[in-house]
């Protein structure tokens, strides 16, 4: 056991060394390019010579070596936010910035929360599409989870289907029969037919929705996806991105009469895309606690834009529709994570904003509704 631990440490030390070499190589490439541009050719050779001394042998080895990343045992944005975000950040850093291939170890994974799974799927999707692998290898790959339940959850969520990976065999007879996941979907257009298809069949069975509420649900999802397309990528995010792309996911729990819908994007985040003049106006009105507003305050502010009649087209209305569902149901929650801010709106009308230590690398809207009594009916806009 100790030997295994030591060899693992040695492996990690070796990989760290390879990463450093790769970084140095990139640094030298940039320096030589700059020197060439300045026509200082003599110095180019000098820099290259210095580089050769630092990197001894077999540099090409770096290109074919997979960097191992261990997926945390609890992959969750609720119970294990920091570790989950660390993993996502490492993938972005290694694959998108450094161009290194990564191998994800799912060995210890025991629990997978839908939101975290959607975030991971989208990261893998982006990495595999934006960084084509060298020599018939993918820039990001991994093994299957050992835990049967975790494996089944990933298959059910459509993790492998979306990534065009052959799914592992799973034992469906052991399914708990409680939570059924809606297969992940990725869109570059707010296609109303696809969105309807996504939620229609399962949700109808689970939560009794009055006809008007069903139509509002469709409208709210179209708003969420089209807002992603229109606003999320209007400010370039820090990492390479697939423009206009959003991801949908969710689950239904017939026993509890509950569903969760999620919309995710890899944009710069709601706080970054808000109109600066509107923020300044709110600062002047002392709506924020500090002179520089926190991300969670800006998310809350964005969710109120419609109510405050600022009338910036397309902003806040989708949130307002989602909130009306949350207010009308027995128990519900609207949770928005964007940059480092988290904003939660609950059925009793309470709002909680908090700053998290890490950024999710985009915006995730999670919308949970539980309603077991009479068919869910929304008050009309006129009654609000």
């Amino acid at each position: 056991m100790a030997d295994q631990g030591n060899s693992r440490l040695q492996e990690l030390a070796r990989i760290e060394e390879l990463r450093k070499r790769r970084f140095r190589k990139e640094l030298i490439r940039r320096r030589t390019t700059r020197l060439k541009r300045l026509e200082r050719f003599a110095e180019v050779e000098e820099v290259k010579e210095r580089y050769r001394k630092v990197l001894s042998d077999n540099i090409s080895y770096v290109h074919n070596e997979y960097i191992p990343l261990e997926v945390p045992d609890v992959l969750s944005l609720r119970q294990n936010y920091d570790a989950t975000c660390n993993l996502l950040e490492s993938i972005r850093d290694l694959v998108l910035i450094r161009g290194l291939p990564v191998f994800l170890y799912f060995d210890n994974v025991k629990h997978i929360q839908p939101g975290a799974a959607l975030a991971l799927t989208s990261e893998v999707f982006r990495a595999r599409n934006l960084r084509p692998g060298r020599g018939h290898r993918f820039p990001l790959t991994g093994n299957f989870p050992q835990d049967e339940r975790a494996r089944r959850t990933l298959v059910e969520m459509g993790f492998f289907r979306l990534l065009h990976i052959e799914a592992p065999a799973v034992d469906w007879s052991a399914h708990d029969g409680e939570t059924f996941h809606l297969g992940f979907m990725t869109l570059t257009q707010a296609d109303p037919e696809l969105i309807r298809e996504f939620h229609h069949d399962l949700l109808e069975e689970v939560v009794l929705l009055e006809a008007g509420a069903r139509r509002k649900l469709q409208g709210a999802l179209i708003e969420a996806v089209s807002n992603t397309i229109e606003h999320a990528y209007s400010v370039p995010p820090p990492y390479a991105f697939m423009s206009r792309r959003s991801w949908l996911g969710g689950y239904v729990n017939p026993a509890k009469r509950e569903f969760l819908l999620m919309v995710l994007d890899h944009g710069a985040g709601i706080p970054a895309t808000l109109d600066a003049t509107l923020i300044e106006r709110f600062i002047r009105l002392s709506r924020f606690k500090a002179p520089t507003p926190q991300d969670c305050e800006l998310i809350q502010y964005a969710s109120e834009l419609r109510r405050t009649s600022t009338l910036q087209p397309g902003r806040g209305k989708g949130f307002e529709n989602m909130k009306s569902f949350v207010r009308a149901c027995d128990d519900g929650e609207l949770r928005v994570n964007s940059r480092c801010g988290q904003y939660i709106f609950k059925s009793d009308g309470s709002e909680v904003g908090s700053e998290l230590s890490k950024s999710l690398g985009g915006t995730m809207i999670q919308w949970r509704i539980r309603h077991s009594s009479a068919p869910l009916k929304l008050p009309s806009d006129l009654e609000r």
């Binding site: 707010a190 109303p192 037919e193 139509r215 409208g219 996806v225 089209s226 009338l311 087209p313 209305k317």
Partner: protein
């Protein structure tokens, strides 16, 4: 222009699944509905009745772009437009309010 009422149904004449705000955002958008159905009908008839029933549901942007866009983009006078338009929505009467709110709140494009 024909004296009388033209009748348009979103579900029958456009789509049962109305989409986002702009054409670039996806199919069956409010912008497309405005350009292909509303503008044409308003040119042909003095009065227009728009039936919003029978669809899977509307995003608020669709309504805003389709009806508010007539003032913003096509230079219609809000008062005149409200006089010429009749909105039918038995399934969700609040949509009638949304349509007229979109027209009232729309500001004509400068220049």
């Amino acid at each position: 222009m024909v004296e009388g009422i033209c009748r348009v149904s979103v579900a029958r004449d456009f789509s049962v699944t109305p989409g986002p705000r702009y054409i670039k955002q996806g199919p069956h958008s409010g912008e497309k509905f405005r350009n292909s159905i509303l503008l044409k009908s308003l040119k042909e008839c003095t009065r227009l009745e728009v039936d919003l029933d029978g669809t899977a549901g509307y995003g608020s942007s669709f309504i805003d772009e389709a009806f508010g866009g007539l003032v913003r983009e096509n230079g219609f006078n809000a008062t005149d437009l409200k006089r010429r338009l009749t909105i039918v929505s038995k399934e969700d009467p609040s949509l009638i309010h949304d349509v007229f709110a979109a027209i009232n709140e729309a500001l004509p494009k400068a220049g």
